[in-house]
Symmetry: D2
Subunit: 332 residues, 4 copies
Amino acid sequence: MKPELPFSVVRAGHAELRVRDLAASRAFYEEILGFVVTEERDGQLFLRGVEERHHHSLVLTEADAPLVSHLAFRVAEEDHLDALASYFESLGCRVQFVEPGTEPGQGRALRVQDPFGFPLEFYAEMQQAECLLQKYHLHKGAGVRRLDHFNCFVSDLARCEQMWREGLGFRLTEYVETDDEPRAKKAVWLHRKGNVHDLALMEGLGPRLHHIGFWMDDVVSIIRVCDILGGAELHTHIERGPGRHGISNAFFLYLRDPDGHRIELYTSDYLTVDPDHEPIRWSARDPRRQTLWGHQTPESWWRDGSPVMDWDSEAPVALSGATDARAATYIK
Amino acid sequence: MKPELPFSVVRAGHAELRVRDLAASRAFYEEILGFVVTEERDGQLFLRGVEERHHHSLVLTEADAPLVSHLAFRVAEEDHLDALASYFESLGCRVQFVEPGTEPGQGRALRVQDPFGFPLEFYAEMQQAECLLQKYHLHKGAGVRRLDHFNCFVSDLARCEQMWREGLGFRLTEYVETDDEPRAKKAVWLHRKGNVHDLALMEGLGPRLHHIGFWMDDVVSIIRVCDILGGAELHTHIERGPGRHGISNAFFLYLRDPDGHRIELYTSDYLTVDPDHEPIRWSARDPRRQTLWGHQTPESWWRDGSPVMDWDSEAPVALSGATDARAATYIK
Amino acid sequence: MKPELPFSVVRAGHAELRVRDLAASRAFYEEILGFVVTEERDGQLFLRGVEERHHHSLVLTEADAPLVSHLAFRVAEEDHLDALASYFESLGCRVQFVEPGTEPGQGRALRVQDPFGFPLEFYAEMQQAECLLQKYHLHKGAGVRRLDHFNCFVSDLARCEQMWREGLGFRLTEYVETDDEPRAKKAVWLHRKGNVHDLALMEGLGPRLHHIGFWMDDVVSIIRVCDILGGAELHTHIERGPGRHGISNAFFLYLRDPDGHRIELYTSDYLTVDPDHEPIRWSARDPRRQTLWGHQTPESWWRDGSPVMDWDSEAPVALSGATDARAATYIK
Amino acid sequence: MKPELPFSVVRAGHAELRVRDLAASRAFYEEILGFVVTEERDGQLFLRGVEERHHHSLVLTEADAPLVSHLAFRVAEEDHLDALASYFESLGCRVQFVEPGTEPGQGRALRVQDPFGFPLEFYAEMQQAECLLQKYHLHKGAGVRRLDHFNCFVSDLARCEQMWREGLGFRLTEYVETDDEPRAKKAVWLHRKGNVHDLALMEGLGPRLHHIGFWMDDVVSIIRVCDILGGAELHTHIERGPGRHGISNAFFLYLRDPDGHRIELYTSDYLTVDPDHEPIRWSARDPRRQTLWGHQTPESWWRDGSPVMDWDSEAPVALSGATDARAATYIK
């Protein structure tokens, strides 16, 4: 058995997105995607999927410009937060604890700007909310079930992967690698909860959020979203898909929300709890990693991402690393 | 080419059901089944499926007791109504013409009590209504697409089949027959529009409506109705299914509406337009005709039906023929 | 009632395609698409869908180069063939009768090169074959159910539409039209069997076959084909889709067979039997006619088509009319 | 944090079933359910689901009478087996280690007859096998994806639950309980891998296996199995369903294999990794726990189970506890 870490991250927990028009965003997330509104107050909307039993997996905050305020992970126990704080301090990061309720519905939380610029939050406790999974008559639109994962652009992939795997205990399930010597990883899929990922990292201009992935019940629910968007003449929200990823085997659809934040509707990946689960390597030249069906990925999908917030200044974190064009070179 | 009839029935057109609580029925048909309300007036609700472009395929009329007010068929041209009137008069039936608009949205119509007691209506013209097929964002509940067929209990099946086939030009696609000599048909499926049926006749205590069948987009939409009903704790509306009929190959679900009228959600039958299309014979002893999956049919499905109205008295037509028990003997 | 034509076309019946490698084509049509082989002889393969009860809806004939040997329509009665022959002779076409069995499984047939260059065949009789619809355990791959329609490029759309509608009794359900004055139709969807089409005509370099459409049971069966092709690394057969057409509301997938002939897997259109069924107009500038989801149609889909055979010379018919580029201009 | 156990069970791993006719069983599991055969030797068949990367999740062993030879759980590390042996010895159980390869493909394993009579096996290592998840063209029949859970009848539910939860670290997700005082649990759902269960225990005549549950991709795959079985006239293998459980929210189908062993095809439950995940209580009187759709559960489902083997004598373990009738009383 590996040396145990003094904390255990359970899963990707929630994200906070800044949006410019809360009413427009609410219409998109509630009516089209089928999120349930737990609470609205002070220009913020707290949303959860129909399966989720906690106060929120997504926070929308009205603001002047789109931004990712933070990405949050749930830990197993309250005192793991202190151990995590020590870890991040050892990396030279600014850390901050916030009191229960600072974020509505949430217990004490640790906030940290990680070495790659991401505004992370860790928490163990969140207020319960009603699970609507079996209240099928109340499901709307896509009926999104639950948060599944975050996918981020990062400029220094190798070090970032190392932090998440060695430092934070995430396990690798799939990765994209160049075929040249020395080989270099270009993207990694990392999990804690037992499916393909809680967090994917792609080399590129970062720190930026590429997308948030939400779990869907099945293929048909995803086709249904396309029809609903098409019927409402909102099809420009569809950026890519539906299709079948080689990586993760997921049936996917990528949408852009009213502020351009990218949402993936995702289903049909696989179980990864076995300790001897062997990561799958994909060559950066293999187009099947992107899709088994041979569809082209649109340029915007390679290029665009949401900037992230600096916890202190509340301004966007400056970007560095490969320009989009360079990043795109290897993986198209 | 057979001697042409002087009229052409196009398809099953609409039905009118008396219900005791229009608000309760509206909730069931609009929210659960997803019918679109074209018009409500004078204690009547005019409904259509999301694909339908006419004023109504179902009329719900508030009354003291449940009853089938009439079953209506669309004919190809307005003057076919006169030819049909002559035909029914030749059978000794009472016929009556009603002016355009007598039934809201409908043109001139012929009303007749057929020799077996059914209150039939024939019409060529009906007001157009918006087709909501591609307005997927407006679909609710089951999203019923269109009327498909009527299924009726009749006491004298042989003569009734003869009237519909020889007199009215319906074509036989499938039938259930005893294996004893002389063989006797126990049920027939008859069509005009090119799929398995517009009208099925089952021997039994009649005249009664067994069910109205509505076309659904696919299997998943039907599973979805079960979940919606289950979620809303309205599952007692589910009488039978989902399952796969041997007869017609349909994927089916039978519901009972708040007044006990039976509705079938139906999909996945087949094309029958070929003139040499050979009717399929099912032995009355073959359980696969009822379902390919081996499920038992509940007693109520064999037994219950909705009485039908006498056009003159507006009272239920008296029943005759095999008692339910006898009818049930052969087909369970 | 309109003056009756002295014949009645029932539906699109079958097509014959020349292919270069019968074994390769058989693998594609039988294993991937799930066609049932009725008979193989003399370098020909006779195929039917799982629902079909006739000897074939598709004939594959081994030859040096890909070509569409003929497109066939079923008529209601045997002597309609003579009336059809007269009609085509009145248009100045070469007509020819072939004896029963000339095409295996088929009765007497009329062969004609229509004024637009298409090698048409009409027939009333075809040998029965076992319907495998309910033998679900024998279905393979996509489990294609039945032939649905042909879609053709024609250089003189206006005259060709007139022949099919006025001369042959087809009914218009949808059409694409320019917005300029005078308006000009660019494509039409014509049916006999009661759904959106048996034949679509698109203005372009013709005579060529754009695709043959086959009916599928549902959306999921079509997604399944993508996965099967992807799994087998045969995804380059996928040319376009899956998606939702505005026109016809069909859920579609376009494949290219090993010779480049285009096959559409098609489901979820609507009933069109009503005599007052109003054709739907789409502006040639409206991208929603192509897809409700906003996907781009690949260039090849606009450009490529299969040449058709001259009955006499058995050589490809020379092309005329708008070049692909021009044709593509209005509809992209 | 709770005191850590000195071992970690990862998930339900595999089962071995004795069957009377290996060829008949192979046809059922391979052609109908779509299992992949990893190896056949010495009257044994080693099977895995299309997603699985290990040698087997199901072993079929030809024998004179049906029996459950063992139920196996995977542990995280090889030396956990020793700690587990100590635990079971502390309960007074017979334990035995078997060498790698004793069961083909498997590493060193611990075998134990647990206090309730179940022949359990624990192992950390198993030979890798090819994952066929993305080889969609090779999937057959139901295309079963992976083992999900075991469900067992046990006579002393309270003590058995205690062993699995406190002794072996399983977590409770749902349970059925009487409403009388003192309340008594009648069934429990326990997991390690993060969904609803790896093991369910139901009070009844035990030790017996009620069923093995396998994960399916979606609802449609399960409907497909019904059609395949119906088409092949093998529908008597269908015992119950398809339907939607209240408990676990699963969409389910129960089949009986050629020897009467019960297999559940299962999909659409939910994520349970959160440490504060609150178990759901169902009243033993609430019919919705069995199905949200109101269907009746057949008597055989309550009554029948497969006896289990004594590791030493290889004979069936004697039964004790509530008779089936009594067991059935509370839950019907």
